[in-house]
């Protein structure tokens, strides 16, 4: 199974069109392996992106360098997935 240990989901708040465009540039950087859960659309519309652990620092530095606000929506994706699996297993066992 694919491992999502250390992956975070960031909720990015682009305040203006220029910031939206900056975030859109991230989409083209394939080496970062970003997974946009909600893509860049317009200012004020939240952008959610799953960031693999090795890319977290680069993405956060990029956002901070351009003054783009963000918060961590999911601290560790794998932790949530483990909980999900445990819950499913528990119901099956029952």
């Amino acid at each position: 199974s694919e491992d999502f240990v250390g992956h975070q989901v960031l909720r990015i708040s682009a305040a203006n069109e220029a910031q939206v465009q900056k975030v859109a540039e991230l989409q083209d950087l394939e080496h970062l392996q970003l997974d946009f859960w909600r893509g860049p659309a317009r200012p004020g519309s939240p952008i959610d992106v799953r960031v693999p652990f090795p890319s977290i620092q680069a993405v956060k530095i990029f956002l901070e360098a351009h003054g783009i606000g963000y918060e961590i929506m999911i601290e560790d994706v794998q932790t949530l997935l483990d909980e999900e699996q445990e819950q499913m297993s528990a119901f099956r066992a029952r």
């Binding site: 199974s1 694919e2 819950q87 499913m88």
Partner: protein, 309 residues
């Protein structure tokens, strides 16, 4: 589960468990529910649609699908709950009874079975189909960019490695083509509702163009009524509007195609969560999500029944 009464609707299930549930529901309600196989997936799995019908010949119909994006697990789980709800409410609830006495309902619970199986076995975050693209090592097509409505325009990717890859041609995905053939052959589908997660939206065409749909005014009113009904249960707030105005440009999407086929009441939902769990909505929220969504579905279905065209 030994019956659909003991089935656990408050947990996520595998494809096999959902297919067993479908068989069980059909066995319990043979006069109301039947199972139709509309095709096979790229990897050979059967694609099933539940038909709820009280008789008649090719009655006007309502289509509901869940799970075209495989990782949106709350949608398949809600689809299971909807199926059970229909069988419970027919003959009990006057609205559901009236709808089913006049229209058929088709429900495709797992619209992307290969992708769904893959989310359970290998990659929980998988969204696309599992078809191979010649000349690329990347797998899968976004089945919500593969319809013949503005196909390949802005709002979809031509990169096979992208999560929004539109595929080589419209309907290249058998999961999409199976629905296209079914809808065309049926010829009397009056409402088409495609259910996704997340971000709490109820959307209508168009996504590929900023031109307003000819029926925009009516669709907007129906959407407003539907989200009002939805919010009446738990206060969940939805935005509504056209796809392009409310989220972003998306070409080749399901309901743009159905609308262009003449299915006026074409809607797409984005279910619960505004930024806490995203696609990883805890199972404890399955039933509340399904319950509130059901109220919106009923509003659209009832409007379809009372506004024949």
């Amino acid at each position: 589960a030994t019956s659909t009464d003991t089935f656990n609707y408050a947990t996520y299930h595998t494809l096999e468990e959902i297919y067993d549930f479908i068989d069980q529901l059909v066995a319990e309600h043979p006069q109301l529910v039947s199972k139709i196989q509309i095709g096979n997936t790229y990897e050979g799995r059967p694609i099933y649609v539940l038909k709820f019908s009280t008789g008649g010949n090719n009655r006007p119909a309502i289509w509901i699908d869940t799970g075209i994006h495989s990782r949106e697990w709350v949608t398949q789980a809600s689809g299971v709950w909807f199926a059970k709800k229909i069988t419970e409410d027919y003959g009990q609830d006057p609205t559901v009874t009236s709808i089913l006495d006049n229209l058929d309902v088709f429900l495709e619970i797992v619209t992307n079975p290969d992708g769904f199986a893959f989310t359970h076995s290998q990659n929980r975050m998988w969204r696309k189909t599992r078809s191979r693209t010649s000349g690329s090592f990347c797998i899968g097509v976004d089945p919500n960019r593969n319809w013949d409505a503005g196909f390949g325009k802005a709002g979809a990717s031509s990169n096979p490695c992208s999560d929004t890859y539109h595929g080589k041609t419209a309907n290249s995905e058998v999961e999409v083509k199976s629905i296209v053939d079914f809808v065309k052959n049926h010829g009397n589908i009056k409402a088409f509702i495609s259910i996704h997660s997340y971000s709490q939206l109820l959307l209508y065409p168009y996504g590929y163009t900023s031109e307003p749909a000819p029926d925009q005014k009516e669709l907007h009113q129906v959407a407003k009524s539907a989200v009002t009904a939805l919010a009446s249960l738990y206060g969940t707030k939805y935005q509504y509007g056209s796809i392009i105005d409310t989220i972003y440009q998306a070409s080749g999407s399901t309901v743009d195609w159905t609308y262009n086929q003449g299915i006026k009441y074409s809607f797409t939902f984005e279910l619960r969560d505004t930024g806490r769990y995203g696609f990883l909505l805890p199972a404890s929220q399955i039933i509340p999500t399904a319950q509130e969504t059901w109220l919106a579905l009923l509003t659209i279905m009832e409007h379809t029944q009372t506004h024949p065209y």
